[in-house]
């Protein structure tokens, strides 16, 4: 038996299916029918996949898959660091939007990312941030009239 990291994904799917099956027990027949009809085979398929991964040996030929393949020419340790960094930037951007709203978060995020992460000179960072802000303002706010909520900080201080 060989437990691989990818087996965790099968386990995750089984957990999701199990949660759906248990939740559906509390609903009316009409509401429960379709989720049950989906979750039960999902549980079985994910379980089968897990068993095959643990006891079925190496997957000899998976054949062609119509999917993205991640680059493999970067050192795994460096790759892991870069994945963590970009996920942190994305999470930071969402947090910033929550705190101060899009109109402030967009220029702050773009300038910070360009100057700190991409190590672009401050002049170019400033120019690109101005372009991004112009796109944001003229396209989304002015032309498409998208309404952006104020951030939590503005709400707290009553702006």
């Amino acid at each position: 038996m060989q437990f691989k990291l990818r087996s965790l994904f099968s386990l995750l799917l089984m957990a999701v299916a199990a949660y759906a099956i248990i939740s559906a027990q509390h609903w009316s027949f009409k509401a429960a029918l379709f989720p049950l009809a989906i979750a039960i085979p999902l549980f079985v398929l994910a379980g089968t996949q897990l068993i095959l991964e643990l006891f079925g040996g190496q997957e000899i030929t998976s054949g062609p898959t119509v999917e993205l393949e991640f680059s493999s020419d970067v050192d795994p340790a460096v790759a892991r660091k870069r994945v963590a960094a970009i996920l942190a930037w994305i999470a930071g951007f969402i947090l910033l939007v929550f705190l101060v709203g899009f109109p402030i978060a967009v220029p702050v995020f773009i300038f910070s990312f360009l100057s700190l992460q991409s190590r672009v000179g401050w002049r170019l960072s400033f120019a690109l941030t101005a372009i991004a802000w112009a796109i944001f303002y003229f396209l989304f706010q002015w032309l498409l009239n998208v309404q952006f909520e104020a951030g939590a900080i503005q709400s707290w201080i009553g702006l």
Binding site: R6, L13, V16, A17, A20, S23, W27, S28, K30, A31, L33, F34, P35, A37, I38, A39, P41, L42, L45, T48, Q49, L52, G56, I60, T61, S62, G63, P64, T65, V66, E67, L68, F70, S71, A79, R82, V83, I86, L87, W89, I90, F93, I94, V97, F98, V106, I110, F113, Q117, S118, V120, A132, F136, F140, L143, L144, N145, V146, F148, E149
Partner: protein
């Protein structure tokens, strides 16, 4: 009939209608490029502006915008791996790898030319089919539509790879998509399902944050990990030559483009299915038309046929969707439902009147589709050279812009910060799926079709019990689904036999 056809053309070419069509096309061009903001949402935003227009002007404006958004959505899919429109997601699968291989120009040329061919076929079918399509649409009830949706999922699942394990992963992802589509209030009983006490989930998960997250975030992560431009270290070469090559590819694989256009028209005609389904079924058809396993292996890694199929289907389905909308007042898709609002604003009633009294207006729609697509493709071809250069800008400069567009696009779904969290969660899920070899396309199609499948199942069981399973058309579709599932295994066996014969 011929007079009405000419009258329709004259209506569109009048300076005011033509100018409004150009304005609509300009808006559609921008909206198509932006991830998340759908053509349907923009149609809805523009409805208030048509009150003072004549019907021909209003439809030139609205349809011009809608037709272009479907075409330019492919550009973002190819250049950044982010679907510009929900209906452009399938183009990512082969279009983006082509951009990474330094073939962005070729992919863009192929996407645009196949879109044009698809749009022309869609418009032609619309013009020819209006008098004869009624019996076809009326012969499809809920059981048949249910089986058609299942066939769509089976088609895309069969692309998960050869061998049992790949098929298991494909089906599991299709089921996960279907399961997540059940989040929120159940339509028949009103029960809340999987809402976890959050009001945000009462309406279910919106397609835009899910789709944008699951496709865009893994590509952005990959770009950040590589630390290079989208096209890596590859030299740009002659981009214009690449664009011309893409145009030639459309004619090299002309019958594939025609078949995928036919798929788009057919799915467009069926109420409710729409472009989200048409692109994937067309993609599946393109993959399954591969000669053997070796030929098939090129898909997903930058095969031009994977760009041509969805490109053609995306645009041909516009003509198909207009058929039931105009002829019966039954919208073929979400955007057509909004267009139906345009009919009502104009004081027009879809149905027999549109095929008799208002036939010139109906034909003006056909002409709008034709003219708008021709102008768009010609204009795009002129600037493609510059667009493709974007793939040679280093990733560090592109990433913050793409992230900004991705998250603003997602936010437009409901105008809540929770949309961004959903994008992030599904982005992370998409990353894990790619990392561990679980295919994303079946998940997306399952998610897109989930609500429809449940509704059709409910109506079928309520109306017919289980006897709907014996309907002749249902039996035919079940047989076809069996064939679709078995096809990868048959293809694998054939390939092995051929290899054995070669070895002997």
């Amino acid at each position: 009939m011929f007079d009405a056809l000419i009258d329709g053309l004259v209506l569109v070419l009048q300076w005011k209608a033509f100018s409004l069509m150009m304005i609509g096309m300009g808006l559609g061009f921008i909206v198509g490029l932006l991830p998340g903001i759908g053509g349907a949402a923009t149609l809805a935003m523009m409805l208030p502006f048509i009150f003072k227009m004549s019907p021909a002007e209003a439809f030139a404006f609205l349809l011009g915008m809608h037709a272009v958004a479907a075409t330019t959505g492919d550009i973002t899919s190819i250049l950044f791996g982010v679907p510009g429109e929900a209906i452009s997601a399938a183009t990512v699968v082969d279009g983006y790898p082509m951009a990474k291989n330094g073939e962005a120009g070729r992919a863009l040329g192929a996407a645009l030319m196949s879109s044009l061919v698809g749009a022309l076929i869609g418009a032609l079918v619309l013009a020819l089919a209006i008098p004869i399509v009624r019996p076809l649409v009326l012969s499809f009830g809920s059981p048949e539509l249910l089986m058609l949706a299942v066939m769509g999922i089976a088609c895309i699942t069969s692309l998960s790879g050869l061998g049992a394990r790949s098929q298991i992963r494909g089906f599991a992802m299709g089921l996960l998509g279907l399961l997540l589509s059940t989040i929120g209030q159940e339509r028949q009983s009103g029960s809340l399902r999987f809402d976890m006490g959050m009001m945000y989930l009462w309406d279910g998960l919106d397609l835009v944050p899910v789709l944008v997250g699951i496709f865009a975030i893994p590509e952005i992560i990959d770009l950040a990990v590589r630390g290079t431009a989208i096209a890596g270290e590859k030299q740009p070469g002659n981009l214009q030559a690449g664009v011309m090559e893409g145009i030639k590819d459309t004619f090299r694989h002309f019958w594939l483009v025609v078949r995928c256009s036919a798929i788009g028209v057919f799915i467009g005609i069926l109420p409710g299915a729409g472009g989200g389904v048409a692109q994937w079924v067309a993609y599946a058809h393109a993959v399954q038309s591969a000669k053997d396993t070796k030929d098939r292996e090129r898909f997903g890694k930058g095969d031009i046929r994977g760009v041509l199929g969805p490109g053609a289907a995306n645009n041909s389905k516009e003509g198909g969707e207009l058929i039931p909308t105009v002829a019966f007042g039954v919208p073929g898709g979400g955007a057509m439902g909004i267009l139906l609002g345009g009919f009502l604003i104009m004081g027009l009633t879809p149905g027999p009147d549109m095929l008799t009294k208002h036939l010139p207006i109906t034909f003006s729609m056909v002409w709008t589709l034709v003219i708008a697509n021709i102008i768009t493709v010609v204009l795009c071809l002129a600037v493609l050279n510059h667009l493709a250069k974007v793939t040679y800008i280093r990733g560090g400069l592109i990433i913050p812009f793409v992230l900004f567009l991705v998250f603003v696009g997602s936010y437009t779904a409901n105008g809540q910060v929770a949309d961004l969290v959903v994008t992030f969660i599904f982005g992370s899920l998409g990353y894990l799926m790619v990392l561990f070899g679980w295919p994303r396309p079946p998940f997306v199609l399952g998610f897109v079709l989930g609500k429809l499948v449940e509704t059709y199942l409910f109506i079928s069981v309520t109306r017919y019990g289980f006897s709907w399973l014996t309907h002749p058309m249902v039996l035919v579709l079940i047989f076809l689904i069996g064939l679709v599932i078995a096809y990868p295994f048959i293809q694998e066996r054939r390939s092995k036999n051929r290899e054995n014969m070669g070895a002997v």
